[in-house]
């Protein structure tokens, strides 16, 4: 593990308190976590344990109350945001995959993915080229011109993964990415995330309740009452049909 330190994600003593005074809720009470590049870790815990709160802190959309977060070599939070432009941080350094794919309904598949590099200032042509590469890698390139509403749930989720990956972020945060999928598709998504993590050296955190996919993680963080506990997972390798 030592060689991985200084890369990927490091969270130390992260705290988050919602509200003030009597009604204050301590959602995170000192979370420690490390994810190496190329690694996919699971984050599991009962309802209300603070999983979404942790993802929001990591995703730079809510401000933690205390602690430290490091992305790659850079401290992004050390009791205050050190990165001035959180919007650019989200755009360039973090990919998001949600329970529902949340594709933009009025953009076709290619442009849903290409939008991110475009927002980062790349040309339309280059952005689309990158998008198509990823769609290719995720086996949805044949649907590149379709609108999101014309795709199956599994295809939509793969497009969402392509979108999360397209700016080559060092981190991907996935919140229940397999919840709406049947077990075969769910396992396929995890397989893809593992492949992409290796291929693009991405650190991936998958929040899940999904019993089907829990055995696939090599490492799992249990979050309970705002604190994390690391444990080894089964790390079962799943190969989809023909792969």
């Amino acid at each position: 593990m030592a060689d991985m330190l200084g890369k990927g994600i490091r969270i130390e003593g992260l705290r988050k308190r919602y509200g003030k005074g009597d009604t204050a809720v301590d959602a995170l009470k000192g979370v420690d976590m490390q994810v190496a590049p190329g690694e996919v870790v699971g984050l599991i815990g009962p309802s209300g344990s603070g999983k979404s709160t942790l993802l929001k802190c990591l995703g730079a959309v809510i401000e933690p109350t205390g602690g430290r977060m490091t992305l790659g070599e850079e401290v992004i939070y050390d009791n205050r945001w050190t990165t001035a432009d959180l919007r650019a941080l989200r755009r360039d350094r973090i990919g998001f995959v949600f329970q529902a794919p949340y594709l933009i309904p009025f953009l076709d598949v290619t442009d849903n993915v290409a939008l991110l590099p475009m927002l980062a200032g790349r040309s339309n042509a280059e952005s689309r080229k990158r998008a198509l590469e990823l769609l290719e890698a995720l086996d949805v390139a044949h649907r590149a011109k379709a609108m999101p509403s014309q795709l199956s749930g599994g295809e939509q989720q793969r497009v969402a993964i392509a979108r999360a990956l397209v700016n080559r972020p060092p981190v991907i945060l996935a919140d229940e990415p397999t919840a709406p999928l049947d077990s075969e598709r769910a396992l396929a998504v995890i397989h893809i995330l593992n492949r992409m993590a290796r291929q693009y050296e991405t650190a991936i955190i998958v929040v899940t309740h999904d019993e089907k996919i829990i055995p696939t993680f090599k490492r799992i963080y249990h979050i309970r009452d705002g604190k994390t506990q690391e444990e080894a997972g089964e790390g079962r390798v799943f190969e989809p049909d023909g792969g």
């Binding site: 979404s52 755009r91 949600f98 949340y102 933009i104 009025f106 927002l119 609108m147």
Partner: protein
């Protein structure tokens, strides 16, 4: 970068076109209202242009003959003809009334002109059918807007007239078509009493001892005869000789003849500044209300469309879209809606303007002003939606 607004509009084009058409009809009404006003102004100008006059000589201290009643003796024109710079001078009478044709009647402005005076001021400018009035009685030239045809017999007060000519675009300042008849008939029509009234008047005159003095036989008959003629007209229209400035010709008539004289510019000021001023204000009020209603509709539609996209906006923000880009997207959609609305409105107004009973003049300048107003309204109307969109928290995209 691609146009998010454009893509959204293309994706939901049905919704946009539908609401755009609705808005467009409203804009069409607004443009038409402006056209109604322009039509009134144009009718007034056409009235002045087609009268062919440089000066209007009317009763002193009146704004006649169109805005106020005015009466002059019908021999005044002779003395005016003798004034320096006066080329032509002609008597006219104007009376707006119902002109009957069989069972139906038409509101028209009956103009009395001297028969055979073609080319004189006040006469119909050109005919599209038939001929000018040549006899001194019972002939008429009508504007085609009356719906009368050549050879038809129309009734004005108690007398019947044969339509011998048709003209066009001869209207009163109120937009009523003109019917030209011989001056003498028109004078009679203006002051004609019914038979009972004439009998009454004769009896009263006969009972007046002043007209029954012994030693002056025939006085009563002379008085009665003078009561039954009408030597009045409403105005004398004057054309000045080439090389004379109308105002310079008007001034001596005012001073020496104790008559009011208006130039073309003054007449226009009276018609537009006074006669149609209230109607113009009325239309102005309509325009203001329509603008507010249009703004409310655009604001409501854009706001609803934006609320329907809160989730997408949260995702766009989460993946790093600038607030500026999102505000721009909403603004462009509002402008797009305005654009569709304007095109639809312009087409609708052009289509239905000719069906209106009075003249509706759609001026290109008004369209340009209308377009700018629509765009400004759309910008203002999108403020509410933009505020709502900027308040969206990117954390909402991650959910609970």
């Amino acid at each position: 970068m691609i146009s998010l607004a454009g893509r959204d509009i293309l994706h939901a084009w049905g919704k946009f076109v539908f609401t755009g058409v609705g808005l467009g009809l409203l804009i069409g009404v607004t443009l038409t209202m402006a056209g109604v006003y322009r039509g009134m102004v144009d009718d007034a100008k056409v009235l002045l242009d087609n009268s062919g006059a440089d000066l209007w000589v009317v009763q002193q201290d009146t704004l006649g003959p169109y805005a106020e009643p005015s009466s002059l003796y019908d021999d005044v024109y002779r003395t005016i003809l003798g004034m320096p710079g006066v080329g032509r001078a002609a008597n006219v009478t104007y009376l707006t009334m119902q002109v009957r044709l069989g069972e139906r009647d038409v509101r028209a402005m009956v103009v009395g002109v001297v028969p055979g005076g073609t080319g004189e001021p006040g006469q119909p400018v050109y005919l599209i059918a038939g001929r000018q009035i040549t006899r001194s009685h019972y002939e008429a030239v009508a504007d085609i807007a009356t719906g009368f045809k050549l050879g038809e017999r129309i009734q004005i007060r108690r007398n019947h007239y044969t339509v011998v000519g048709l003209t066009r675009r001869m209207v009163s300042s109120g937009g009523d078509p003109m019917v030209f008849i011989p001056l003498k008939d028109a004078q009679e029509a203006q002051f004609l009493k019914d038979n009972d009234a004439i009998v009454q008047q004769r009896r009263r005159t006969a009972a007046n001892p002043a007209f029954n003095r012994p030693g002056t036989p025939g006085l009563l008959d002379a008085v009665i005869a003078s009561q039954s003629v009408n030597p009045y007209i409403n105005a004398v229209l004057v054309q000045v000789k080439p090389g004379f400035i109308p105002e310079a010709v008007a001034e001596p008539i005012r001073r020496w003849k104790h008559l009011q004289v208006y130039t073309r510019a003054q007449m226009e000021e009276i018609l537009i500044g006074k006669l149609i001023a209230t109607a113009a204000k009325q239309i102005g009020m309509f325009l203001v209300i329509l603008a507010i209603v249009s703004a409310a509709i655009v604001a409501f539609i854009i706001y609803t469309l934006t609320l329907g996209k809160i989730r997408e906006i949260a995702v766009l923000k989460l993946i790093g879209t600038r607030n500026r880009t999102i505000a721009g997207m909403i603004l462009q959609q509002a402008l797009g809606l305005g654009m569709i609305g304007f095109v639809v409105g312009k087409i609708a107004a052009t289509f239905w303007a000719p069906i209106f009973p009075k003249y509706v003049l759609l001026e290109p300048g008004d369209s340009v002003r209308g377009f700018i107003a629509v765009m400004v309204i759309c910008v203002l109307a999108s403020v509410l939606a933009i505020r709502a969109a900027l308040k969206v928290d990117p954390a909402e995209a991650i959910g609970g």
